[in-house]
Amino acid sequence: MNDQILIEKAKEGLKEKILNIANPAPRRIFLKVAVDNLLETISWLKNEQGFTHLSTISGVDLGPSFEILYHFANNFCSFTIRTEIPRDNPSLPSICQLIPGAILYERELQDMLGLNVQNIPDPRPLLLPDDWPAGNYPLRKDWKFERPAEVIPGGKK
């Protein structure tokens, strides 16, 4: 099985749900779907193509929207499903029913980007440090960190 066959199969299995499919390098496939079709696509990928291993989920702040990438992998290919959600309503479904191992990555998304993952089995807010102020999401591009001044103890030389 190689990338081309997989792409053909995706086109067959998902049809119009595919917004875009790319194969920029060997063993790398990027498939773009709408958020509403995300769960179906992932269950197709898992159940019919046997991609059980979720490597990770990346979130990118694109400005007006967030891009979420689900990196799957199996024995011959790294398959990335991407989707975009608007910044003013950053919510997406949880995939933990399909992939139980996704829980950590989804909580990370909540914490670092302030996304709203629906039906996440463990919905408690993700904390950075215990004293982290609410509403701050470090990985958003508009979040800036002010570095405190450093005081070096000891005598001046």
């Binding site: 070096i152 103890p153 000891g154 005598g155 001046k156 030389k157």
Partner: protein, 136 residues
């Protein structure tokens, strides 16, 4: 399953010389290419700031003391340096070098700074300019 499978090895080593090195009473040899602390040869520095730009740990600080005299001050903060030698690779003139010392622990962070005040040198970059990349 063998009871006491480890005993022969242990007893064998009881009679042997321990693997311990006699540091700090006998100094250790570090290998030739060991990356210790970076230092500057001020007579070669053309103040291109490539080292400052590529240093990952903000360990190099170049300030201009006097524009007219082309006088500069370079501070290497040994308390920040991660001894990666990127500055050595980045320097186009070979003004930045690295030594092999590692026993530089100190009681005061201020003593870990190294500072040079110097006039900008006028030297041609060695053969081909290699900005950030490796020496082949």
């Amino acid at each position: 399953m063998k009871i006491g499978a480890f005993i022969p090895e242990l007893l064998r080593h009881l009679a042997k010389k321990p693997a311990t090195v006699d540091y700090p009473f006998k100094k250790l040899e570090v290998p030739k290419g060991f990356r210790g602390s970076p230092y500057l040869k001020p007579e070669l520095c053309i103040v291109c700031r490539a080292c400052e730009r590529d240093c990952p740990a903000e360990a190099i600080e170049i300030t201009s003391l006097s524009e007219a005299e082309k006088k500069f001050r370079m501070i290497i903060h040994n308390d920040r340096c991660v001894h990666c030698a990127q500055c050595v690779d980045s320097c186009p003139t070979g003004a930045m070098l690295i030594d092999t010392r590692f026993e530089i622990a100190d009681y005061d962070r201020h003593n870990l700074k190294m500072q040079w005040d110097y006039i900008r040198a006028v030297v041609k970059p060695k053969s081909e300019p290699k900005s950030d990349q490796a020496k082949s």
